[in-house]
């Protein structure tokens, strides 16, 4: 089984430096793309590979790039690596950032070449201190070796790269809010259109891609779209970094073929549930995805299958709900997070999320009423897709609506018994 993204990552030693990376074939994709390919051909190849955005939205990466205007010579454009990993339960980009920073940098150089961007940023969350140090160091090495800077490998392509570390707030992961943060503003989302591909950072065409997405680029350039598609077990191409946290024997992170089932992830890779704990459900791709339950264990973890089962692949890092954990407390914890992280820009989110959180807290504390469940249900519609400015509130409603569906008895029990049965 091929593991292109993680094959050279070894956590028993330090991360790959430039010399290590080059010795295992690193920067070959930069040579190939910059010396022998036209920018549009790079985009076309990535589009054909059907690399879907690994940050959660799952949009075809090459297609996203193809919206960048290519006709104006000398136009300032930006490429940004979204390394603001902050979706609760998600820890996959950290592995790529700490384990193989040059793979990300190489992916960024090729991607920037494809859209002819000359300035690039790594937008890194503040908490990843080790990653910050490693990326800073790797960028300096890449400049010194001539992979960044002016006239890269004699190709006349120039690229600057900067590391920007954030100062908190989940909203920074939303691509237009990230742009505002980079411009020194509050990280609130922007209206679309115009899309960032046309008018992004400082009003210039900008592409924002997730770390895992960008780390895949060198491998697609080196091996081609057919190879990339063949890595997968299903119609969604590539491998995927999957993770599991919660009461399993071996919580962790694994690069596996796209389409690995939930059952295989839990039983084979995470070593099954801990002794004495039973599986009740899981959020398949981070805090903002709908619960899947026992009947879904054989669902393949790819974009189409998870979506057909009523949830989203999201980030592919799963959080397990076990039978010793209160589902109401679990959902309350999620809504507390979303209420706190709402940027306050639009009313349904700013007002609705704290309301939702307080209702859940009162139910958890045994002070709930049956009609509160209707109120919660109402919020799942009012804060759903199309009613808010960005995807934060609709994302927040996903575990709530499916929680009410699958664990309704537990909600009712809290109300009837006037206490949390788990406390």
């Amino acid at each position: 089984m091929e593991r292109p993204l993680t094959q050279h990552i070894n956590f028993n030693r330090t991360s790959l430096n430039l010399k290590d990376y080059v010795s295992v074939g690193g920067y070959q994709a930069v040579h190939k793309a910059l010396k022998s390919m036209a920018p549009q051909d790079v985009t076309k190849m990535v589009q054909e590979a059907d690399l879907k955005g690994r940050g959660g939205a799952g949009f075809n990466t090459g297609m996203k790039w193809s919206f960048v205007p290519m006709n104006e010579v000398g136009q300032i454009k930006y490429l940004i690596a979204n390394a603001d990993e902050m979706e609760p339960g998600t820890f996959k980009d950290r592995m790529l950032l700490e384990g193989n920073p040059h793979q990300l940098i190489e992916g960024m150089i090729v991607s920037a070449f494809a859209i002819q961007a000359n300035i690039s940023y790594v937008f890194l969350r503040w908490a990843y201190k080790k990653a910050a140090w490693l990326i800073e160091h790797a960028i300096a090495e890449a400049y010194a070796a001539g992979y960044l800077g002016k006239n890269i490998l004699g190709s006349r392509f120039n690229l600057e790269m900067h590391l920007h570390t954030g100062i908190g707030r989940y909203m920074c992961g939303e691509e237009t809010a990230l742009l505002n943060a980079l411009e020194g503003k509050r990280a609130t989302p922007r209206a679309k259109p115009p899309f960032p591909q046309v008018s992004g950072l400082f009003g210039k065409p900008t592409i924002v891609n997730n770390v895992e997405t960008l780390s895949n680029i060198p491998h697609i350039i080196n091996n081609g779209p057919d190879w990339f598609k063949a890595l997968s077990l299903t119609s969604d191409a590539g491998t995927k970094l999957y993770g599991i946290s919660g009461k399993v024997n071996k919580p962790g992170l694994w690069e596996l073929p796209m389409g690995t089932t939930i059952r295989e992830l839990i039983e084979e890779h995470a070593g099954g549930m801990k002794k004495g704990f039973k599986f009740r459900g899981a959020l398949p791709g981070g805090a903002s995805t709908d619960f899947l339950v026992e009947e879904h264990l054989d669902v393949k973890m790819d974009y189409k299958s998870v979506s057909a089962a009523g949830s989203r692949l999201g980030t592919g890092t799963m959080i397990i709900l076990d039978d010793h954990t209160c589902p109401v407390g679990f959902v309350h914890n999620l809504e507390h997070f979303f209420a706190q992280e709402s940027c306050g820009w639009c009313t349904p989110c700013r007002e609705g999320l704290p309301w939702t959180e307080r209702i859940l807290l009162s139910i958890e504390n045994g002070e709930g009423r049956m009609e509160d469940l209707d109120l919660l249900e109402m919020h799942t519609h009012h804060l759903g897709p199309g009613n808010t400015f960005c995807a934060l509130a609709p994302g927040a409603m996903e575990p709530l609506q499916s929680g009410l569906k699958y664990f309704r008895e537990d909600f009712e029990k809290h109300i009837n018994e006037k206490k949390c049965p788990w406390r």
């Binding site: 990993e85 902050m86 979706e87 609760p88 339960g89 998600t90 820890f91 950290r94 969350r125 503040w126 908490a127 990843y128 201190k129 900067h162 954030g166 100062i167 908190g168 707030r169 989940y170 943060a181 980079l182 411009e183 020194g184 503003k185 509050r186 990280a187 400082f202 993770g243 599991i244 946290s245 919660g246 009461k247 919580p251 962790g252 992170l253 959020l283 805090a287 890092t317 959080i319 397990i320 709900l321 076990d322 954990t325 407390g329 679990f330 914890n333 999620l334 507390h336 997070f337 706190q340 992280e341 940027c343």
Partner: protein
């Protein structure tokens, strides 16, 4: 008043961006690095240097949770209170911290040794519960481990 060193660092950041105010978050980070927090006085000084109104800069400063607009202790404890740490029992760690330090979330010990804050997901979910103190991350926390960890911070 900003120090010469602060101004030098801020001007370095300003030179990297096409619009002066785009460096205002970096400016807040730089001043907080030197002074520990952003007082009203610091805020006004930075705003003047960035050619922004103090209100505009404050709207940015108060948006981000790691810019401190109140004095904080010498060591900042950020305890993850998100979902994986919830499942793995961060609440017990929080209780233990309260017993040891006699402070709750948002508070600072009277000797300014520690400030305790909740923090969303720290990206170490496979080793929950987890917390950060200053630059350091601690994983797979237990109450016993916590006793030893805190001794490292004076």
């Amino acid at each position: 008043m900003l120090s010469k060193e602060e101004i030098r660092s801020i001007d370095h950041e300003i030179a990297l961006v096409p619009v002066r105010r785009a460096a205002c978050i970096e400016a807040l980070k730089i001043v907080q690095h030197h002074r520990g927090w952003i007082s009203d006085e610091s805020l006004h000084a930075i705003a003047a240097h960035m050619e922004m109104s103090a209100e505009e800069l404050d709207s940015v400063a108060t948006f981000y949770n790691l810019i401190f607009r109140k004095p904080v202790g010498r060591n900042i404890i950020l305890l993850c209170d998100s979902i994986s740490c919830y499942v793995m029992g961060y609440e017990k760690i929080y209780e233990h911290l309260q017993t040891l330090l006699h402070i709750k979330f948002g508070e600072t010990t009277p000797d300014y040794r520690f400030t305790l804050l909740p923090n969303p997901c720290l990206g170490s979910c496979d080793h929950a519960p987890t917390l950060m103190i200053n630059q350091d991350t601690y994983r797979d926390l237990t109450n016993e481990k916590l006793d030893d960890i805190l001794k490292e911070y004076k």
